[in-house]
């Protein structure tokens, strides 16, 4: 009899090149290496210095995302350092024989949107990228790890990584989400519950009926933010929803390969009696739209709640952190979250910029006008998503609403390109980090779902569809209710 194993343990075991002995970590094979311009130049430089080739260009793919402008993409990039960084990636890709999707290419976009859209992200594989939100790909039942530049160089050279063992945490979300409540609210609530470091050392496995009911986009949103709980990775076991999403995509297996792959994928789910090192539960039935008030993603509350008082935190670190956060965010304890006015709404990032996210946003703003004095920016996750949305008329809905329809990239998620908040500006953002200055020096970020972003753009204050008179998601407008 074999010992029952979790999904994460199965994927790990299937990629073991050499078992680590005497405290050495295991050497793990990497199936897919995603590369972008920010964390790779020094890695390629290292290879060049040592005269090392890229071991598997056929398991490596690059795109331009962090620095790319979201306007006038046919013009040379104005910022010279950004232009140099992107040119460096182009030169490196050419020199080392790596496939690159450059600005203007249909597959260009945020690296974590591109992998799934090409069908490269598959169940049971190992994926790495020099970016912490690589955890996104875990939504397919892959082991997906964010790595640093030295590790990027290591994977380029060896297609493996020495990796320390991990612990496993089951995050079980049971019940049914109410209309207006989304995957983003689940993960913000999970992080608020376990804390911005509660996942440290763990691979999280999201399970339960509420997770099973989510689309792949929703599962990606959740796995994306695993890193905001400090976790090594997040995963969801593959199922029919995963297979339906994958089948027919450019790099999904075909013919008998598909059958072989499927047979394997069906063995991946955690065994019934597998033991997790920790367990967390969340009730989906009672969950409300969620929003952050502070400067780390664990500092969140229900939108119907108030800004908490620092004195309500028992842990002195949490209390000091809350005090500093309120000062930075310019908020007073006790203020109703819904009374908070915003200057900007950002709809985008690898957390929420896929077609389904854009559809959700558009469904709320359709036929409405944005609040005065609120700047609203909509940035699709990839050029392909942008075209798909345009085919559905979403660009028109966005423009008629008074919002800006942009080209694909990371954009205001981290403001490496010109898309930034001005000092003191407050933004409702569908991205994943509300750190000080993340969206621009002195900028203030409230993390929200696409639905909350849309309702906030309409009202100018933090709002959900429940606050909109005409929304079908407003419980008082429900037919027959």
């Amino acid at each position: 009899m074999t010992t029952p194993r979790t999904l994460a343990e199965k994927v790990w075991a299937a990629h073991l090149v050499a078992k680590g002995e005497d405290g050495k970590p295991d050497l793990i094979y990497i199936d897919l290496h995603l590369v972008h311009e920010v964390t790779s130049p020094q890695a390629f430089d290292g290879l060049r210095k040592e005269g090392r080739p890229v071991r598997r260009p056929d398991l490596t793919i690059a795109t331009e995302d962090h620095n790319t402008p979201t306007l006038a993409i046919d013009k040379p990039i104005a910022d010279l350092t950004s232009r140099l960084q992107i040119q460096t990636l182009r030169d490196n890709a050419a020199e080392f024989g790596i496939r690159l999707h450059s600005l203007g290419d249909i597959e260009q976009g945020i690296v974590h949107v591109v992998g799934p859209q090409l069908g490269l992200t598959q169940p049971g594989i190992t994926v790495v990228c020099g970016d912490s939100h690589t955890s996104t790909h875990g939504a397919f039942g892959a082991m997906a790890l964010g790595i640093g530049t030295s590790e990027v160089e290591h994977v380029l050279a060896t297609q493996t990584l020495p990796l320390a063992p991990f612990k496993t945490m089951a995050v079980t979300v049971e019940g049914e989400l109410r209309p207006g409540v989304t995957a983003k609210d689940i993960i913000l609530a999970v992080i608020a519950q376990i804390g911005a470091n509660g996942g440290q050392g763990y691979v999280l496995e999201y399970r339960g009926s509420a997770i099973r009911a989510l689309s792949m986009e929703g599962r990606m949103t959740i796995c994306n933010m695993s890193i905001e709980a400090g976790a090594r990775a997040g995963m969801v076991a593959p199922d029919q929803i995963t297979y339906d999403y994958l089948q027919g995509r450019a790099h999904a297996p075909r013919g008998t390969d598909w059958d072989d792959a499927l047979a394997y994928w069906n063995t991946l789910a955690s065994d019934d009696d597998a033991a997790f090192d920790a367990e967390v539960f969340l009730d989906a039935n009672t969950l409300e739209p969620f929003v952050t008030w502070g400067t780390n993603p664990g500092q969140g509350v229900s939108l119907s709640d108030r800004v908490p008082s620092p004195t309500s935190f028992a842990d002195p670190n949490d209390r000091a952190g809350a005090e500093r956060a309120l000062e930075y965010m310019d908020l007073d304890a006790g203020t109703r979250m819904k009374d908070i006015r915003v200057d900007a709404v950002f709809m985008g990032s690898c957390t929420n910029s896929r077609i389904e996210d854009l559809r959700a946003f558009a469904s709320i703003i359709k036929g409405q006008t944005k609040a005065e004095n609120v700047r609203v920016m909509v940035v699709p996750g990839s050029a392909r998503v942008r075209l798909e949305a345009e085919a559905e008329g979403i660009d028109k809905i966005v423009e008629e609403f008074g919002a800006e329809w942009r080209f694909a990239g990371c954009s205001m998620c981290l403001g490496m390109n010109p898309d930034q908040l001005a000092p003191g500006e407050r933004c409702a953002s569908t991205s994943n980090r509300n750190f000080e200055g993340r969206q621009g020096k002195g900028g203030r970020t409230h993390l929200v779902s696409p639905l909350v972003a849309a309702a906030t753009a309409i009202r100018g204050t933090l709002s959900s569809p429940w606050d909109l008179e005409n929304s079908p998601m407003n419980p008082i407008n429900k037919v027959g209710a």
């Binding site: 964390t39 140099l84 640093g148 030295s150 490496m416 000080e436």
Partner: protein, 203 residues
């Protein structure tokens, strides 16, 4: 990589918890394509504030040769994977960082770049802060062989995983180490399933 045995320098108190890598080095500095010269970017936003610890006596006079040792609150280096955070600390002169907890990716990056990330108990970190407060500029040393930190006359134990410790002590390059296992990698590739995805040829 230079082997590390004992780091001796001035202990610098950073009395904040959850210092994420966006605070250690903001995104605007990530556009560079070099691996050195990030000293000016370290804690860039906070350094605009004259009260920030690195702007205060006696820490404002520190240079790289003083090998400062950073004594930080818990959850240091969380957030973004940017290795630039480690490069910035290293370029500024820091050779060791003490904290009760580190972001996982940061800790991995530190080990690869010869920055010693030593994990101490929360009480010990707070005790060290008290010692520094009483005697700003006090010398400290971090001894990797005995896994102890000495600040003034007090000695504290710290944790670091054995593998990282061995690599730091020997000054070993990770890639070189892994390439010793090259036959195992080739053997693994030979048994990999045919249906696993490849990026080339593009489809």
């Amino acid at each position: 990589m230079e082997p590390i045995n004992v780091v001796t320098g001035v202990a610098v108190p950073l009395e904040r918890s959850a210092v994420d890598t966006d605070q250690i080095i903001p995104a605007e500095f990530l556009k560079r394509v070099t691996k050195t010269g990030f000293e000016d970017a370290l804690f860039f936003r906070w350094r605009q504030d004259s009260e920030f610890v690195l702007n205060r006596e006696p820490y404002n006079a520190l240079g790289p040769t003083d090998s400062p040792i950073l004594v930080a609150g818990p959850d240091f280096g969380t957030g973004s994977s940017r290795e630039h955070a480690v490069w910035a600390l290293r370029d500024y002169g820091f050779r060791a960082v003490l904290s009760h907890r580190f972001g996982d990716i940061f800790r991995g990056n530190a080990g690869k770049q010869g920055l010693l990330a030593a994990q101490l108990s929360e009480v010990d970190i707070e005790t060290i802060w008290l010692i520094i407060d009483a005697e700003p500029g006090v010398a400290a040393s971090v001894d990797l062989t005995t896994k102890t930190v000495t600040v003034g006359k007090s000695v504290f134990p710290f944790e670091i995983d054995d593998y990282t410790r061995w690599r730091l002590l020997e000054g070993l390059d990770d890639i070189g180490l892994t390439l010793r296992d090259e036959p195992a990698i080739t053997a693994f590739e030979a048994r990999r399933e045919a249906w696993r995805p490849t990026t080339l040829p593009a489809r």
